[in-house]
């Protein structure tokens, strides 16, 4: 039983994660690499190259010096995957692991709420996941490229998590009941994070050209939608298959 949940979640995450990583490799990462070329001296570059001037570290990172020389050949100050195969491999791995994380979280929600994820409703789970974890957070914190000015990292993470929780709760509520009060509560849950407002980026010029940033925002949101629809659909299909195998009467037709 528990094994079925984990097997379905992880297999679905592997499929969705690998497809998403492929899209990222061809459509998303080139934009990140392109954006990094605009940062120049003083901007943030990826990992080993420089973590300079206006780079915001996670809360708790001690004060430290960054070497401004730091070209690609410079001695790395901190580990980062080398550009090329290694970076792609790490991105693919991270995307698959994040996919597994999302799959297990919606699997847990399904268990707690008593709402099965099936082939029939997997598409809706996917849409709910997209709205909860991609669209609603992006509504306040637009997908960012390296080099774009942004507010304090921890404040943004807190807002991101709070928005996902509130939006997810709204989706769950509407999945359980369509009563009038539920719509009112769901609308409030969705709206409140945006009324509070995401941490505002400092009013600084962006190092990244606008056309790159808009392209990135559109492509990452589109890719996230594809990811979530694949994840929800495959997760549901596998749940049906595993349930059909263990139940005395197989699951209903799902084609």
């Amino acid at each position: 039983m528990i094994r079925n949940l984990f097997a379905a979640a992880l297999l679905a995450a592997l499929c969705a994660g690998l497809i998403t990583a492929a899209i990222q490799h061809f459509r998303v990462t080139p934009l990140i690499l392109h954006a990094e070329t605009f940062e120049g001296e003083g901007g943030h570059s990826h990992g080993a190259e420089a973590v300079a001037a206006d780079h915001d570290h996670a809360a708790g990172t001690p004060e430290h010096e960054h070497d401004a020389v730091a070209a690609t050949e410079a001695e790395p100050e901190e580990w980062a995957p080398a550009d090329g195969f290694e970076r792609t491999a790490y991105t693919t791995l991270a995307t698959v692991l994040a996919a597994a994380g999302f799959a297990l979280v919606i699997g847990a929600v399904s268990m707690f709420a008593g709402l099965p994820i099936t082939f029939a409703n997997g598409f809706l789970w996917g849409i709910a996941g997209f709205v909860t974890f991609s669209l609603a957070p992006a509504y306040g914190l637009a997908p960012e490229l390296p080099g774009m000015p942004a507010a304090d990292l921890f404040a943004r993470q807190v807002w991101w998590v709070g928005t996902a929780l509130a939006t997810g709760a709204a989706c769950l509520l509407l999945a359980r009941t369509r009563a009038g009060w539920a719509f009112a509560v769901a609308i409030a849950l969705v709206a409140i994070p945006h009324i509070i407002g995401a941490p505002a980026a400092p009013d600084k010029p962006s190092a990244v050209p606008a056309h790159l940033a808009t392209e990135f925002a559109a492509i990452t949101l589109g890719t996230s939608l594809v990811f979530w629809l694949i994840l929800g659909t495959i997760f549901g299909k596998l749940n049906d298959v595993f349930a059909g195998r263990s139940a005395t009467i197989p699951a209903g037709a799902t084609a």
Binding site: Q24, A94, L97, G101, L104, M111, W160, S224, A243
Partner: protein, 60 residues
């Protein structure tokens, strides 16, 4: 919940089975998401850097 034959796996589970399965999944899932999307450690940050940007996690 555990009456007759189930049409899906979930409906054949008892409440306690669902809570155990859900808790384990939530724990592992959140660990993976924190590790890939939120952790401040520079190795995790740099390794997952492009994924964080691509998936819309706050980064930098």
């Amino acid at each position: 919940m555990n009456t007759t034959t189930a049409s899906t796996g979930l409906q054949s589970l008892s409440i306690s089975q669902r809570i155990i399965a859900g808790s384990l999944a939530l724990l592992l899932g959140l660990t993976l998401l924190v590790g890939t999307g939120f952790a401040g450690d520079f190795r995790l940050h740099n390794g997952a850097h492009d994924t964080r940007h691509a998936m819309g996690f706050p980064c930098h």
